[in-house]
């Protein structure tokens, strides 16, 4: 797999859906404070 960002690499700015169903960019979450992005195995 080509995409496998490691420590020191730029983090991919992906588009996600927020709780209102709107599209949001992950980069907007790390601009003000460091971000802990937790990818779950599923919701529930």
């Amino acid at each position: 797999m080509a995409n496998r960002p490691r420590v020191g690499d730029p983090a991919p700015d992906v588009t996600l859906t927020n709780r209102n169903g709107r599209h949001v960019r992950l980069a907007a979450r790390w601009r003000r404070k460091p971000l802990v992005a937790v990818f779950l195995c599923h919701f529930g």
């Binding site: 797999m1 995409n3 496998r4 960002p5 490691r6 420590v7 020191g8 690499d9 730029p10 983090a11 991919p12 700015d13 992906v14 588009t15 996600l16 859906t17 927020n18 709780r19 209102n20 169903g21 949001v24 992950l26 980069a27 979450r29 790390w30 601009r31 003000r32 404070k33 460091p34 971000l35 802990v36 992005a37 937790v38 990818f39 779950l40 195995c41 599923h42 919701f43 529930g44």
Partner: protein, 137 residues
Amino acid sequence: MQLRDDHARFEEAGATISLIGLGPHTRALVFCDERHVPFECLSDPSQDAYRAYGLDRGSNRQLFGPQLILRYAKALLTKDVEVAKLSGDDYRQMPGVFVIDRGGIVRYAHRNTDVADNPPNDELLDAIRSIRRSGRR
């Protein structure tokens, strides 16, 4: 959820936490409201974000290995995992955690080797503090 237990410590360290899950955003809403999750919950129905971060789909051993049986049993007993909810999701999707600094650089990367292999909170907090110590971010 162990992250929630240390919510105050993450706040003190000056970090934002975002949870990213599979399925539609309505599922995320129910999950986060039921558990009073104090973090933002985001959805990735297409799994494009998982792929972009190099999170693979798990093998049978990673998903159902002997080291996991006890954990599943415990989770079922405490209703922490409702197996019925797995049916609509890609249950093979492996989880992971990334700490990203304000410049958009990955400062910590953890891809689970099995579904129970979550990183300790102290490891994440250390990564956040080291960003602070570096002074730039």
